[in-house]
């Protein structure tokens, strides 16, 4: 049987043990994400989105973080998926290395993973084309705008061809216009590469514009308050002003309001 689930989370809870007081951040989270889909998680500030992101990414957690429940990423433990290089991360900040130019920032994971020089170059030129960054291949990160920096870090995450892309508020620092531009880019990339994407945001508009499925997290201790399937055609430039689009916005806003109080 082919496993069509990219992520499967069951009864996931997470607590931070502090001195004396415990902080229950995630409580009984359940959801599944199917392969090749675009999903958003939205929730109030500080509700535990980044904590969930960290757990899904398979990175070592702090000792103070106690978790229960099960997480399967591509049918395995997140750590295994991460070790198998099946997960690509895009963080809130671009996290580029200033001493490397655009192309060698994209090449960083390839270098570390021991790709041959030819393989690296092939991959880099493919990605520079995909991201329209050819002209900038020799720029330093600080010479680029915030949006472009984030584009480079998306390129870096795609470099080793992971099956799943996890993005934690990647465009949170951008203005509306640039954010929309990057939204279009990421949709383009998603449609070309057919990756599974889990995208964290706190913008309602961004969630509806991007995804097929929006999961609304409640405030701490947070759980999935509601899941909304967005049934709109891609690309969504045309849909953006339709009444259906507004209906979804209103629906998500309603749930988010419920979830926040």
């Amino acid at each position: 049987m082919v496993n069509t689930k990219a992520i499967e989370v069951k009864r996931l809870s997470a607590d931070f043990k502090g001195d004396g007081k415990d902080l229950n951040v995630l409580s009984n989270i359940n959801f599944t994400i199917s392969k090749g889909s675009f999903n958003c998680i939205i929730g109030p500030s500080g509700c535990g989105k980044s904590t969930l992101f960290r757990l899904l990414s398979g990175l070592p957690t702090r000792d103070s973080c106690k978790i229960s429940g099960s997480i399967r990423v591509l049918g395995k433990k997140p750590e295994t998926a991460s070790r198998n290089r099946e997960i690509g991360l895009v963080l809130q900040k671009p996290t580029l290395l200033e001493w490397r130019d655009v192309q060698s920032n994209i090449a960083l994971p390839l270098e570390i993973m021991g790709y041959t020089k030819e393989k690296q170059e092939e991959k880099i030129s493919e990605l520079l084309n995909l991201l329209d960054l050819n002209e900038y291949s020799e720029y330093r990160p600080s010479e680029l705008s915030g949006g472009m920096q984030q584009k480079v870090s998306i390129g870096r995450a795609l470099a080793y061809d992971p099956e799943l892309l996890l993005m934690d508020e990647p465009f949170g620092a951008l203005d509306e216009i640039n954010r929309r531009r990057m939204n279009n880019e990421i949709i383009k990339i998603w449609r070309k590469t057919k990756k599974t994407i889990l995208f964290i945001t706190h913008s309602i508009d961004e969630a509806v514009y991007l995804s097929q499925k929006v999961m609304v997290l409640s405030k701490k201790p947070s759980t999935i308050h509601k899941t909304i399937n967005i049934d709109l055609e891609y690309p969504r430039e045309k849909e953006e002003n339709s009444s259906k689009y507004f209906k979804y916005i209103k629906e998500v806003r309603g749930y988010l309001n419920e979830a926040s109080c």
Binding site: S57, L59, P60, S82, R83, R85, I87, G88, L89, L91, K93, T95, L97, E98, W99, L108, P109, E111, I112, M113, R140, S142, Y160
Partner: protein, 273 residues
């Protein structure tokens, strides 16, 4: 401050725009020497307290034109050579210690007090003890220089590693779990700027350390020992000239490193996020 700034002009003499600077420096020095000479003569201050510039020039002439034994310059260079050995050794060991301290809080807690001791125990007091173990030779001297200069290196390197933003470490973790790869691609480049700036501190302190360590030890040929002996024999102009020579060497060394630092920082941008 003024002197230092203008003398750095001497070092960068090859730049045309610095010609004016050099001229100003020379003018400044001339006026300084003249005033100095006048004041000493006017108030009849004895040579054993403050020598006049002419005394210094007399000594220089004697030393470099008439003397057959080793000059103060040769001795200064000899000491500088030891300072350099200590400098590089200290950087190497200090960086190693800094990295070790950053790895574990326990190791830090155990080792740090000892590291701190190197700053409190005065070198002259420690020298005889060490000399009894390592002998009165160059080994002890280098060891003392390292001991004297290592503290800021280890502390700055440790902090630089701890200050690497967590995001970067996490991100590299998604590419590899091999510590060496993370060290090579993230930690090492991040250490370049703190290393360069701590090199400037250690450049001068290693020379000071060399001079101090020469007193209690019997390493011959060093300028520190020579200053000490000259002082005891009332050869005050010799002391002054030695001090000036060693200061100029320190200054040149410091400027070399500053120049190197500027070059590396602007060209490679290591350790910038």
């Amino acid at each position: 401050m003024i002197i230092q700034k203008d003398l750095s002009g001497l070092f960068f003499w090859f730049k045309k725009s610095n010609l004016v600077k050099i001229f100003k420096t020379i003018l400044f020095l001339t006026i300084l020497l003249l005033t100095w000479e006048l004041i000493i003569t006017k108030f009849n201050i004895p040579k054993r307290i403050i020598p006049k510039p002419t005394d210094l020039f007399n000594f220089l002439q004697q030393e470099f034109l008439n003397s057959k034994s080793t000059t103060v310059l040769t001795k200064s260079i000899f000491s500088f050579k030891d300072a350099l050995i200590g400098f590089f050794l200290s950087l190497l060991v200090g960086t190693g210690i800094g990295i070790t301290l950053s790895k574990s809080k326990t190791v830090d807690a155990i080792l740090f007090p000892f590291l701190f001791l190197t700053q409190i125990v005065p070198v002259p007091a420690l020298a005889p003890v060490l000399a009894a173990i390592l002998g009165y030779g160059q080994t002890t001297k280098i060891f003392l220089i390292v001991l004297f200069t290592i503290f800021p290196i280890a502390v700055i390197i440790k902090n630089a590693i701890l200050n690497i933003p967590e995001n970067y470490t996490l991100l590299l973790h998604t590419y590899t779990r091999k510590r060496f790869a993370i060290f090579k691609h993230l930690i090492l480049p991040s250490l370049v700027p703190p290393l360069l700036s701590v090199m400037k501190i250690v450049a001068t302190s290693s020379i000071v350390a060399t001079i101090i360590t020469e007193l209690p030890l019997s390493v011959k040929n060093g300028i520190g020992k020579d200053i000490y002996n000259s002082f005891n024999n009332q050869l005050i102009p010799r002391v002054w000239v030695s001090v000036i020579i060693i200061s100029i060497i320190s200054l040149l060394f410091f400027n070399c490193i500053s120049f190197f630092e500027k070059y590396i920082t602007s060209k490679y941008k290591y350790g910038q996020y």
